[in-house]
Symmetry: C2
Subunit: 372 residues, 2 copies
């Protein structure tokens, strides 16, 4: 079994996910490296901030640089210079959000590249083959995402195709297993929009197929937070206890708290890096926007309680100057700080679960986080 449940506090879980490139202590946050790079940061810095696993994207890498380039490198780990675990998203979400002229047919998706307009056709089997070739530690199958709000009939249709593709993905995954790819894990993706009964049905039917872990897809697509939490709660409860649960594309520290509280183990989100590039830093006393005038002569670090490289070396005043002057170093430093904050935050969540003090930790965190 790739996942070991270490401790439970209410519905919150602390676990260990074992991969060929190392263990991941959960709950875990995965920095997003869509194009095979966590934007602005080196592999060494990812280690330094304590990233345990990074996410990349099969759709994006399939289009650019292409499968052949990554195969020539000996896989995605070597290509990226990252020897820790990698989860690759299939790109189902990307196909539906950024590709042009998409057609979903039972056999797969037809689309034009958002980069050069070239025409492509990918089956669920193709996606698994690509991720196998990349050497991903965790493989996500092709799924169909729907927007919010959406008619129930449309949500069911997308759910059915997602389940069908999940079965085919599992089949191809099994038949393409080689001694060298034996370590790879395949997750299933639960769809069903904001309909609790669809989510539950999808979770159960995927569980019958059997995956190494289960993801909640199609969340945080515009629905209110409370509705998202409800869907997380219901879906999580319908999933097997012994497998990791991954909430795709979420989120803020407060969203992560609510999801961990409801039994989620894994997260990915562009929030810490995208915010970092925009000058917004996460601290234990809330977010701060470093471009703001009050920081002009502020010689404190971003967060006085933080010991990341940015906080050890630079002041808010300097970072504000760099943002104002359009200097790239600023984007790096705040991305680095934010990922460091996220990694510490996840560690503290985990420690609190292990100590059976999850709710106390949350109370304390929220009081402090609301200060600024």
């Amino acid at each position: 079994m790739a996942f070991e449940l270490v401790s439970v506090d209410g519905h919150a879980r602390a676990g260990i996910l074992k991969t060929a490139h190392g263990d991941v202590k959960t709950p875990a946050f995965m920095p997003v490296g869509t194009h095979g790079t966590v934007k602005t940061l080196s592999a060494q810095e990812l280690k330094e901030v304590g990233a345990q696993i990074v996410l990349s994207n099969a759709y994006h890498l399939y289009l650019r640089p292409g499968e052949e380039v990554i195969k020539a490198a000996g896989g995605l780990h070597k290509f990226m210079g990252w020897d820790g675990p990698i989860l690759t998203d299939s790109g189902g979400y990307q196909v539906f959000s950024i590709a042009d002229f998409i057609k979903v047919k039972p056999e797969g998706v037809y689309f034009q590249s958002h980069i050069d307009g070239s025409k492509h056709h990918l089956t669920p089997e193709d996606i698994i083959r690509i991720e196998r070739d990349f050497g991903s530690d965790i493989i996500m199958p092709l799924d169909e995402c729907v927007p919010y709000p959406v008619e129930k009939s449309r949500a069911r249709e997308a759910m059915e195709i997602t389940i069908d593709w999940a079965k085919r993905s599992k089949g191809f995954f099994e038949s393409s297993k080689l001694p060298t790819t034996n370590h790879q894990l395949l997750f299933g993706i639960v769809q069903g929009a904001t309909y609790p009964d669809l989510r539950k049905e999808c979770a159960q039917r995927l569980t019958e197929v059997g995956f190494d872990g289960y993801a909640l897809g199609g969340v945080s697509v515009g629905e209110p937070s409370e509705l998202m939490y409800e869907i997380i709660e219901g879906t999580s409860a319908a999933l097997p206890k012994e497998n990791p649960r991954y909430l795709m594309g979420v989120g803020t520290p407060l969203d992560i708290i609510e999801a961990v509280r409801r039994g989620v183990d894994m997260f990915d989100c562009v929030v810490p890096t995208r915010n970092g590039r925009n000058g917004t830093a996460f601290t234990w006393k809330g977010k701060l926007n470093l471009s703001n005038a009050p920081y002009a002569k502020d010689c404190k670090p971003i967060d006085e309680s933080c010991d990341c490289y940015a906080c050890r070396t630079y002041t808010r005043s300097y970072l504000r100057h760099l943002f104002n002057a359009g200097e790239m170093l600023a984007l790096r430093l705040v991305s680095l700080h934010n990922l460091y904050f996220y990694a510490r935050f996840m560690e503290k969540l985990r420690d609190a679960i292990v100590d059976s003090s999850f709710e106390d930790f949350i109370d304390g965190f929220k009081r402090s986080y609301a200060i600024r």
Copy 2:
């Protein structure tokens, strides 16, 4: 004496420049950190690549973030998080190349900020005060630069004002000396365009005033290389042997060779960092443009003989992908590699001078460098 001449080979010199923030072994290359940051790189990386001293710019920092911000930080070293030596250019060159509505009057310059159009007036004394406040280890005075080509009468006029300002700068520098600023050095800047007699006269008259070092300004402004070398040779010969000589804004490895051969000790240039951001890498076998198609599946490092972080970790194939995808990490990595190359290149030049094998080293370097 702040400068110690260690070895001479022909006109080429190996020396040590002593500053309050550490010794600089010459010939030395100074990475350019115009806005108080060597573009894309952290202070830690500058140490790692072996940068001995960095250059920044009083004009730019005066406009943004402003003197008060840097004073609040406790000086430029603390502001930048860099504890090695800093040379600040006065910004004479920048005033003439990028400011708007410039008026040069005997008392100083009048101009509008290129950032926000605000009006400013700076005297030579103001510039020294600013650089004193910044805590610069090496202070450059305000000078007047002329373009190429230029009438001799105009070149003389600019030279005369440069000498007058140099005297006033020295006067203010002396009168503003405090126990805390005792370590700062003041260089004089030789102007005179491409007129050898003007350059010689300027060098001699500045030597009479007396500075800690002497710079050649207003070179590499469009004149042919041969003419530049001639001017360097003549000016260098007219300067005192016991002081460091700094060629401003130069250059490529080949230009640096020709200048060291003619007695120059210090250099600054945007070439390694600007080229790095454009995907052009320096190697011992010449330059290579990492965006080019032949590197798509090239799994070699930028330079197989290089042990910088970029070369130890990443392939040409990966870097090409990052450039194609517009990923910032690429700009960092090639900037880092290029500065590492420059630092090693300067070390080798110095070693060759010390070993009295300068010309042999140059022959070998040029043969190898012409390969690609």
